[in-house]
Structures are given as C-alpha cells and as structure tokens.
Symmetry: C2
Subunit: 538 residues, 2 copies
Amino acid sequence: MRWWGWGEDGYDVNLPETASFLLESQLGVPAGQRRTPVTLEEVRLPEPRLPVRLRERLTGLLGADNVRDDREARVSHALGRSYPDLIRLRSGDGSSAPDLVVRPGSAEQVAAVLAACAAERAAVVPFGGGTSVVGGVEPVAEGFAGAVSLDLGRLNELGEIDKTSLTARLGAGMLGPEVERRLAEEGLTLGHFPQSFEYSTVGGWVATRSAGQASSGYGRIDELVEGLRFVAPAGEISLRGRPASAAGPELRELLVGSEGVLGVVCEATLRIRAAPQQRRYEGWSFRTFAEGCEALRVLAQADATPDVSRLSDEAETGLSFAVAPPAGRAERVVKRYLRMAGHERSCMAIIGFEGTEEDVERRRLRSAALLRGGGGLSLGRRPGEAWQQGRFAGPYLRDELLTRGVLVDTLETATSWSNLAALYEGVGAALRRALGSTSLVMCHVSHLYRSGASLYFTFFAGQGEDALGQWRTAKEAASQAIVEGGGTITHHHGVGRDHLPWMRAEVGEFGLELLRAAKERLDPAGVMNPGKLIPDRS
Amino acid sequence: MRWWGWGEDGYDVNLPETASFLLESQLGVPAGQRRTPVTLEEVRLPEPRLPVRLRERLTGLLGADNVRDDREARVSHALGRSYPDLIRLRSGDGSSAPDLVVRPGSAEQVAAVLAACAAERAAVVPFGGGTSVVGGVEPVAEGFAGAVSLDLGRLNELGEIDKTSLTARLGAGMLGPEVERRLAEEGLTLGHFPQSFEYSTVGGWVATRSAGQASSGYGRIDELVEGLRFVAPAGEISLRGRPASAAGPELRELLVGSEGVLGVVCEATLRIRAAPQQRRYEGWSFRTFAEGCEALRVLAQADATPDVSRLSDEAETGLSFAVAPPAGRAERVVKRYLRMAGHERSCMAIIGFEGTEEDVERRRLRSAALLRGGGGLSLGRRPGEAWQQGRFAGPYLRDELLTRGVLVDTLETATSWSNLAALYEGVGAALRRALGSTSLVMCHVSHLYRSGASLYFTFFAGQGEDALGQWRTAKEAASQAIVEGGGTITHHHGVGRDHLPWMRAEVGEFGLELLRAAKERLDPAGVMNPGKLIPDRS
C-alpha cells in the first residue's frame, strides 16, 4: 500500500464530470484545485530515540532483516488510514512514526519482543494491515522509551482446516484476499468483507471487533471466533475452540476487541462456511428512509435477514444517482418506472444473498415478499451488481477527493430499532451544524439485528484552512450526538485514539475499571498500545 | 419448593412397573427399598456465627421481615438441587447452611448489603431459584465471618418492554413461569426453557450462562442479554442495551456467567420474540447415533437448525421405550414399521419448531427433507407431544429415584462435530468404568451449532454405602474424560463448586489470572460467593 493513501501507486480514480460539478456547486471546492502529497523524502520524522540496547536485543531475537528503522518502514507504520491520518501524511507530518518496526515470525517471537520492550518500557504498537480509521495503530509514546511497531505480517500461516466442523486456524497476519484464496482452494469461505478487505488482516479484524459488509449473513468477526492464541507481556492465553460453553465468563470476548492494548492476537480459529455457489444482489427502492428502515426491521425480526442489506437515505441515494454514468435507455426506463410508482426521491437498498442456488432462491423470494409488503419496489439485479463492483472502492476514491481539497469521512453507530430514527436525525443534524451549509451528510443502514441496526454516515465538505481542526469539530459533534442519543460510539470501526473520549459514556467509570484491571494483569508495565481504548482515570 | 427435593409437597411421581423391574434387574436396586428424607427438624444446622453488628446493620437496611435465620430459611438456602446436594439434605446434613438469609428489594439495597458484608468479611452467596446442580449456591465460608445468602426473589419487577426492538427489562428475581406469563400478556415470549424453568430465575440464568431446551432456536441466554445492571462490592456496572458494538472488549460477556463471584446481576434487558402461534414437535428415528449426529450436523450447517433438537443414543432410546406405557395398537404398528425399515434398535430424535404457522411449516419441510436425506425416518407428532408433556419432569422423577435408592445424575459438555463421536465414547466409557456393570449410562445431543454440538449424559446406578463418594468418583472420571477429550467442562450447567477443579484445563492458568484480576477489582474483600468458579492459585 502506498504510504500516503490507499492501494498501490498508479491505481488512481478519476472522478466523473458530474462529481466535479457537485464538488464545486455544493461544497464550494474550486474546480482546478489539486493538493498533492509531499514526497516520501519530504516527510518530517523525529530522531529515533529507542535505547540502543533494546534495538540490539530485538535484532538478536529476530535477525537484522526483521528490524527496520529506515524512512519507508517508519512512515508506513506512523499512522492508519483515517481522514486525519491521510491529511497528516500527505502534508509530511511523520511525527508519530515509530522508532523501530519489527516483524516477528512466530507467537514465541512476539512474546520475546513484548518481554524485551516491557523491560525497557518501550511502547509496543501491534500492526496488522495498518488500515485503522480510528487512530488504532498510531504510536503514542510520550513517557515511554520510544515506540516499536509490531508488524504481524509474517504470522501468515494457514493452520489446519476442519472441514467437518467448518473451522480454520489462521495466522494473525493473513490478509483478506489471501484468506479467501486459500479457503477457496478447499471450496470454503470466511465471508468477512470489510471495506478494507484488501489490506486488512485476520488479527486486525479480531483485535478491532470488525464487521464486514456481509456480516448480517456470515456473522461479525466476534461471532466467528471459535478459538484464540493471545500473547500478552505477562503471559499467554490459548482458548481452545468450542462451539459454546457455560464455563464462566467468556474470556474470548475480553480479548476480541482489545485493540492491542491487552496483548497480541497471534492466531485465531474462525468459523467458516462452504463457498457460495451463487451471489445474488438486487436493488430495492423505498419511498422514504423511514419506510425502508421499517421494512428491514420486519425482515430481521422474521429471521429473514439477507446476507447484505444496505439502505441508503435520500441524500446517499441522490448522490449515487448524480454521479452514475450518463443514463442509457435502461436507466431512463427505470427512472420513469420509479416516478410512476411515487418513488421519485426515493431511498435505495442493496439486498444480497449468498449460498447454494436453492438457498439463495428460497431466501430471496421470502425476503422479497416481506420487502414488497413494506412498500419496497424491486429494481432488479443491475444496482446490486454495480454495488458489488464498487464495494471496496471507497478508500481509493477518497485519495482523489483529498487531492481535490475535499473533507470526506465516515462514522458509524448502532442502536435499537425504536431509537433508530431519532439517532439518525440527531447525528445528521450535529454533523450539518458542525460542517456548515456547504456540506453533504448522508447515511445508510448497513447491519441488521433483531433488536436494532447500525447507521453509517458519510460526510463531505470543502477543506478549511485548518483541515484537522475542522475535522475534529465535526467528529466531536457527531460523537457527542451519538452517546447522548443512546447509540454505541462505534459499531465496527473500533475505539483506538479517536473514540477514546467517549468510552466513559459507553461503559461507565466502573466498566473502565474492569478494563484497567485486565490491562494491569496482562500488561503490568503498561507498554501495550498506550493512548488507545482505555482512557486514563479522571 | 420443598426443602429436600423438587416441586411442592404432595407432587409425587409414581414409577411404572417396568421401571421398578429395570431398577432391580439392571441396577440391582432391591424392589421394596425406600430411603425417605429426614424431617426438617432433624436437619443438623451449625450455630449461626455472623457478627451481631452485621445482623443488626442488615436488619436496619432491609427491615426485620427480610432478614431471616429461622430453620426453614437456612435449610432452604443451604444447597442447590444436584444429586449430592439432595443426598446431603435428605440425610439431614445442613452443615453448609448460611447464617442469615436476606431479601433486598432493590439494586440499591443489594449494593448496601454487599458493602456491609464486605466491611465485616462475611461471605455473600447470591441466590435466585436455588436450582444449581453444580454447587453454585452452597455457602463456602471457611475463613469468613459467616455466610449471608442473598435471596433475590424480591427483585421481580418487569421493567419496560420495547415491542419495536423486541427487548424487555426483567428483574433478576423473576421466575420462569412469571416471565412467560407477563410476556404472554403482550403476545411475546423469551423462549428460555431450561429443565429448571419452573423454579429458576432471570438472574440465575444470566449468572450461569444458561441454555434452555429451545436455545438452538431462541438463543442461549448469553445471546439474549442486550443490557445489564450489575452490582459488585466495589461499584456498579450498567451496560445499556445495544444490538452490537465494536467499542472494545464486550464487558457484558465477562459478567454473564460470573456466577455471583464478581457481583450480582440485578436486572437484565433481554431479547424477546413474538409468542409462537404454533409449536410442532415430531419424533424421528435413526439407525444409529452416529447416523443421527451426522444428520443434525447437516441441518445445523445448512442453517436449518430446529428450535429444539435432541437425539438420544441407543441406551436412552431403549430406556424411553422400556418405561413407556404398555403398547397399544398404534405403538405396535409403529414398532412393526421401524422393524421393517431396519430401525429396530434405533435412536430417537425430537425435532421441534415454534413460530408462525407459515414459518413452522416452511422450516419443518426443509428440515424433514434434510433429515430424510440423512437416513431419518419420521415418527410423526406423537413422540414429540409426549416429550413436550414431560419436558420438565426429570427433577420430579429424580426425587422418587432417590427414595428408591438410585444414584442418578446428569452432566454435559460440548465439542466440535469432528470430535463428537470420540468425546461421546470417552465420557461414556469413563462413567461405565467408574459406576461398574450394574449401571446405565445414556446420552443425547441437545444443542446444535454450526461448529459442533452439546452432549448430555444421564447415568444411573444403585446407591452404594458411601453415596457421596460413589458419586464423586463417577463425576471426577467423567470430568477428566471431558477435558482430556477436548470438551468444555460444562455447556450449560455452569461451574460452581463441582467443576472448579477443571477450570484450569478450561481456560489455562493465565486465563484464570484474568478472572482473578476482574474479581480483585470488583470484589476487593473477596466476599462474593467464595469457593466457586475461580480456583485458588496453584
């Protein structure tokens, strides 16, 4: 991945003309403006300050090839891939770069690295694919003897696959495409497709309690973890796989989502499935967002949840129509059909099913009947196929928008069905207030549960002079609206550094004490990923 | 509930003649033998030893009506309802009786009781319905200034029901039938039916990570907890309801299953459902247990899991036929049909569906096709209805068997599908070895998951001279076989005192450290339910 953005160099997205027009007319972004990133050599890096003794010890443990402090290694482990991270990187701010990047080759080597760093009080920042959008991999090492980025890329072995029980043991460093490629060879799939799929890892998914685009069907990662090998400075926890248990508190759930703050996910045994014979994604239209939400609630509570269901609000639907390629004959027919059915300013949903042909057909027909009963209008497979093609495109597109001088970010939450409309209104209003009139705020429902759903907001504005300050104002306003409105501060992005201030609202002061107790036992020196997840005592 | 057994006085079960014959012929239990329990007055109780000051403080907090140390209160809170508990009670052993039984009326009163007891180092044993079969409610107060049983029966309020999000806030002390009665008034159900349903409570279910007979369909209690109000000596944790979150470790999962050792579940917001319009339970026959297991695996992995699915092995099937009422014409027809189909010594399964009529029919037909494809033979609704009628009968029957001088107990585990047959063989062999030839060991699969299933063993023998020692030998043999065979030490009974020695094998020494860290933070004085769940450091 290129150090200042998403994807590999040369993979650039061109915005359609209509998008350029929208940027100028709606966000006030000057048409010709281009803000390109600095070169790698121009990135300002702090002097490495790690004790020489520790560097030598780590080199002794891992070999010189796996201990790097060159410019490229440090810059590429300095930040994640959030909007503020990219703003900082593109402007040459490498102030958060680790002193050293190490690449252990086994769980035993991870343990040795943690011990060495704990002994010298050097901060350790576990690093999977580096795709965090909440500041989760940014070293925060004030008060420490430097920062070591623990790159888990070499823990990429596929362990045994149990085809009878449908589980697979996967190394933490395996990337999404590699997981799916290896499982596909056996006719299997994990089915975990976050937008970061191409560059995120098994360990990152588990450590951040990730949800993928199809997690309503395949299950969130926390529902897929059967067993776990977890290495902390004070010791190792191996939880053997088991389908369910009543043997006390579920420790697995304390380690899943621990974001490198308690220790390191080295290996996970995950629940897998037979690879789908068929994927069928369709578009549906609803007259209003509220009508669509109600239809999705009925689906979820009838145990008819599709594998993918995303309902865009009016703004998101409008934007996707606006930037679509010029309408051909087929699109004009669809538009006329929508107008006649009273769906002119409608909300679009993508409803997707995967599985055997028979399964897909059976489930699709049942959900279609319920969606029609809820006022939905089928738009056929075309919109679904278009969504599938673009499902990982967001981060690529973002690079181009940043070049054009656009503020663009996403945030997400979840709440009960009865609170969904109020939370949607509250967060949207907070973002619009914070960003001003030349902004665009849009939202979709992305994950369905029997008791509620998630809301995923995307927002755009012209970049201000103080791009980071402008972003922070919007982020704080939205986060405050979320916790005051009864939502969770994050449904699938994780906590990291950016959501830290809202963890007290999330679990209460005494809930934080419980997290601190775990932290102190697992990481007595407090070196694991400081400044993330668990706020200091107030 | 009567103090020495199950149900109310006068509710006695008569064994059929065939059962008496089996007891004599197979277990060597003399036909006329009757071992009746002592009277309440004959139970030997230790002198109360709680500091007077604490007793007065608790009386001041709760009122004299809610602070009892009479014989009936103490004996009825001395033990749970396991086989060894009943053996002890019936023989007049009240040595584990608490010094005091208190009944707080609110979460605030619970907090005040915990503070008072922590200050005096008196052990506190949370008590819901008292139905633990693993020694979970037995006071273990050596080294403490006495034991207080914290009866939560007065926390029995139904809080708000959210009919849109399908959640209900329930007081910890609500009993199963009360929960279902109140929800039924609104057309709703929780669907949680452990065999102890009539006498167990919301708080007990949550604290022990309970699974009910229909939990393959409605979800285990840990899957149903949306929010929680949890009071520990050091503070309170209120986790507001949310359908899902990525905000760090899931603290709820650390409190669910904490068995009173970390604190007290005072209130739970649980996920509920529309009450079923229809319940349809059917019998199925398989030629062998292995064939039946394989058919159930196919169901589970095809997402066609019934709400109830129990597959009895040859021994359990044989016993249920043997003690059934004398065969009428219909039964003789069925037997001939089974014989002709090669199912003479078969394994019987109960397959049940609940929901709307349309749902039940659709799911039933799909599962029936898969079961037939797996070698199953439908036996129609009669066996299903018989099972439904007797679903809560086990503990009543047990009282009569104890009177007859029979050792009878159950234990359970879960493992992956690929390990199921080996674990089944291993545990069965260990029990038969421990109990000797005049015993009967039988098993059923009771809960299905995509990755595995649970095994539920029932075993019988004639009571030896040293009934408790005889039981302990069998229990230890089975537990050892479970952990060595890769099973979890308990799938739904919990840990309590009886499974304590196997928790190290379950989560490892460092996993125990994590539990201890939570314990020390929530309960610094260590007064909460000592001697349960978390073994001392080795």
